[in-house]
Amino acid sequence: MSYLSLSDKDKKEMLARAGVGSTDDLFCCIPESVRLRRPLDLPPAQSELELVRTIDAVGAKNAYPGFVSFLGGGAYDHFIPTVVDYLSSRGEFVSPYTPYQPEVSQGTLQVIFEFQTLVCQLTGLDIANASLYDGSTGTAEAVLMAQRVTGRNKVVIARSAHPQYREVVRTYIKNLGVEAVEVGYGPDGRIDKDALGRLLDDATAAVVFQSPNFFGVIEDVQALSDAAHARKALSVAVVAEALSLGLLEAPGKLGADIVTGEAQSLGIPVSFGGPYLGFMACKKDFLRQMPGRITGQTVDKEGRRGFVLTLSTREQHIRRERATSNICTNQALCALRATIFMETLGKQGLRELAWQNAQKAAYAADRLGAVPGVKRRLTGPVFNEFVVELAKPWPAVDAGLKAKGLIGGYGLGAEYPELANAALVAVTELRTKDQIDRLARTLQEVLS
């Protein structure tokens, strides 16, 4: 299938206008010795119908959608109202680029302005950017931002934060002279505050923690922020399950200076890990150090309200190597989806959704915790995920559950050797009581 729009006559006449005899002549600047003189070794072109069949066949090799799954760990399957797909698939949203020309981009710009407002409301902070790639790179950007704000080169990062987020932070800081030291967790799954006290010093730029953390446990945001501030370090809260902000007190109201994280939960499918939606909000004092695009309100020549990309002197296209970040393209279409999702759920709906998640997880934790051979671990308060330890090795339990059509959770042993037989179980509103009960019953069979 070709997507060209030129007739043979067009091609001929246009080549003549361009002053060349053939398309090959257009490439006269390319040294003859390196020009490819064979067709690319790619499969033959496919019609639309053939393509659909090809992709259907590849998709059929994913067995995952046939299971009832309790996987979370930074990617959550929540219900997506129909209007999210319907509205976000409009060509006027899908097919423009970054709104460099505000007069013909007011739709995208106003959406981003609303998105920034919603992120501020959720996080309890003053300002938010137009989005970042995802929660992991958002965390890395927050670390670099804390370094710029404080002029300090060490961060303390919670071991209870998403293992992949921590890996990304390590990758980013490796060449920049920033050191990240990890602080462990206690039996309740929350950051070990004594250990944190020992690690914090006057060289610390930030305490970086996730809440709810990777174990689903809600950290004591106020206490962690106070500890950071006592050393004039920043409190950086990472939220990998943005839906939790519908119910939990805003981290910004509990002392967090920067809140970053992953908003995939708000209307974006799990889609094998991406594209997702990084977000970042901060106190207004740090505005000039914020990475990424920001939309602002202004007026046109007639005094009518309009929106523009603003404060771009922070950015790479103006500041080049002195920019706050190298980010250019972000995740605008995902931010649109999240904006539609949040405005559709609304003030009551978002809170109710978060409440149902917490209730279902609480029910499931009790139900599974009562199964012989299952022990709740890391027992601090949780939002919609929790950790269980099993009397048998996790791989065997996992296999037993899969044989019955269930994915019971995510085994923690690879990333936390001390939790070798433990699994992280996520329960969203999509999991029914029947499914939770079935997991409990099957677990009992597998463990007996």
Partner: protein, 485 residues
């Protein structure tokens, strides 16, 4: 479209008690306090409350205030705003992929892994590289990953080195990415052809230089004809060649970066491989490398064992992850679909007709607009406002006036070496009719610049808002809605 439609912010039409969603009743026994001791919100203060009708009208009206590729020519230079095939949208949202979880065990997501592996292979063939990682989420992210790979390889050789050379025509992300990778940037001046000055490069290329970052064709739309000599100079001093593949659209099937001395490159799937730009993302910036750099690729690498795909985490020399999970997967599906649709001939036609369309525009407008560099153009041509400046008309005026003719303006913010730039990239998917509409509009504007410059200063005339006060926006930032006290 009705010019006078004003759409308030959603917060301004919100009213207590309205809603656009309902949940099923909770089907588990409710606990009075499922989160003991945790501070909860009293409410989501000032969050919107609207009906479903209102949500649909709000976003439909907002959408009508956007110009987009589906409406017409979008010749934003360097951004490659080509048509986005609709079947790719449908297939990227395929339930088998959309519902699949990134932490699922390999055996349950063989289809997703096959998508990744297939695209890696196709990109290797198209770019002439030995391996690809699909993890980077955008072009700039790919640049960063690519420079990290170079640093790791040089460290393994014994010295990471200090500098990175970047031509003065480069996109701003290049110096920024090199900087975040811990390098100091040295700028290389362009010569009168708009390409890298070999004498300058030879002087700057020392054993303290880690790499040259080169965009080819460069941001002037000019192919670096000396690329083989350039690579020789860089390699001769033990450095590596990084190619910014933002303009790969000009090369597909015609020449492969890997065959011209490039060691590392990134490709923007949202440019060359037609995945939609989405109003500013999501993109995807896969990075390709030559053999020497393969050990440093981000983890996990997708391998094959006994006909099954398997994730390889055991890569001791890897730079680590640059992003959680596997990259922007549904963008990757779209790019795969695009290549499968086009096949070998179609992929070559990308470059052929992107370059033909750009040259058609160039020849049609030469004389009307100033062309600082007369070197042959590839997929884009960069005019300037020099002729129109004589009548006080700037590239901004020209850009805004184009909007009145139903065309999106070209890029103006770079390359920095062309003052008053108008960087025009039509892409291969445009019809001659749309190209001619653009050419006629530009010619009319050139005439207006002489006869009636006022109409240009006041443009655009047909949009919901006229020119916006960007200075005030930055000086007195209003970055969110707040309830009036």
């Amino acid at each position: 479209m009705i010019k006078e439609i004003r759409e308030p912010l959603i917060f301004e039409i919100s009213a207590a008690g309205k809603r656009a969603s309902e949940l099923p009743p909770l089907d588990v026994p409710a606990k009075k306090d499922p989160l003991p001791g945790v501070p909860l919100r009293r409410e989501l203060e000032d969050f919107p409350e609207v009906s479903e009708t209102e949500v649909v009208r709000h976003f439909t009206r907002l959408s009508q205030k956007n110009y987009c590729v589906d409406m017409g020519l979008y010749p934003l230079g360097s951004c490659t705003m080509k048509y986005n095939p609709k079947v790719n949208e449908r297939l990227s949202a395929h339930p088998a992929f959309a519902a699949s979880h990134p932490l699922a065990s390999e055996d349950l997501v063989q289809g997703s892994l096959e998508v990744l592996k297939k695209l890696e292979r196709f990109l290797c063939e198209i770019a002439g590289m030995d391996a690809f990682t699909l993890q980077p989420a955008a072009g700039a992210h790919g640049e960063l990953a690519g420079m990290m790979l170079i640093r790791a390889a040089l460290e393994a050789r014994g010295d990471a080195r200090k500098y990175v050379l970047i031509p003065d025509s480069a996109h701003g992300t290049n110096p920024s990415s090199a900087h975040i990778c811990g390098y100091t940037v040295k700028e290389i001046k362009s010569n009168e052809r708009g390409t890298i000055d070999l004498a300058g490069l030879e002087k700057e290329m020392t054993e303290e230089v880690a790499a040259l970052m080169v965009t080819n064709p460069n941001t002037l739309g000019v192919f670096e004809s000396d690329i083989l000599r350039i690579a020789e100079i860089v390699h001769g001093k033990g450095g590596l060649v990084y190619m910014d593949g933002a303009n790969m659209n000009a090369l597909t099937g015609v020449v492969r970066p890997g065959d011209m001395g490039v060691d590392v490159l990134h490709i923007n799937l949202h440019k060359t491989f037609s995945t939609p730009h989405g109003g500013g993302g999501p993109g995807s910036g896969p990075v390709g490398v030559k053999k020497e750099l393969v050990p440093y690729l981000p983890v996990p690498v997708i391998g094959e064992k006994g006909g099954r795909y398997a994730l390889d985490f055991d890569r001791p020399r890897s730079i680590g992850r640059v992003r959680a999970y596997f990259g922007n997967f549904s963008v990757i599906v779209r790019a795969l679909c695009y290549i499968l649709s086009l096949g070998p001939k179609g992929v070559r036609e990308i470059a052929e007709f992107a370059v033909l369309n750009a040259n058609y525009i160039r020849k049609s407008l030469e004389g009307e607009f100033h062309l600082k560099y007369t070197t042959p153009s590839m997929h884009e041509c960069v005019f300037s406002d020099k002729f129109q400046k004589e009548n006080g008309v700037t590239n901004l005026d020209i850009a805004k006036r184009l909007i009145d003719f139903g065309v999106h303006p070209p890029t103006m913010s770079f390359p920095l070496i062309v003052h008053g730039a108008l960087m025009i990239e039509p892409t291969e998917t445009e019809s001659r009719r749309d190209l001619d509409l653009f050419i006629e509009a530009m010619k009319t504007i050139a005439r207006e610049a002489k006869e009636d410059p006022e109409v240009l200063h006041a443009a655009p005339h047909v949009t919901y808002v006229s020119r916006l006060d960007e200075v005030a926006a930055a000086k007195y930032p209003v970055l969110r809605w707040e309830k009036k006290p």
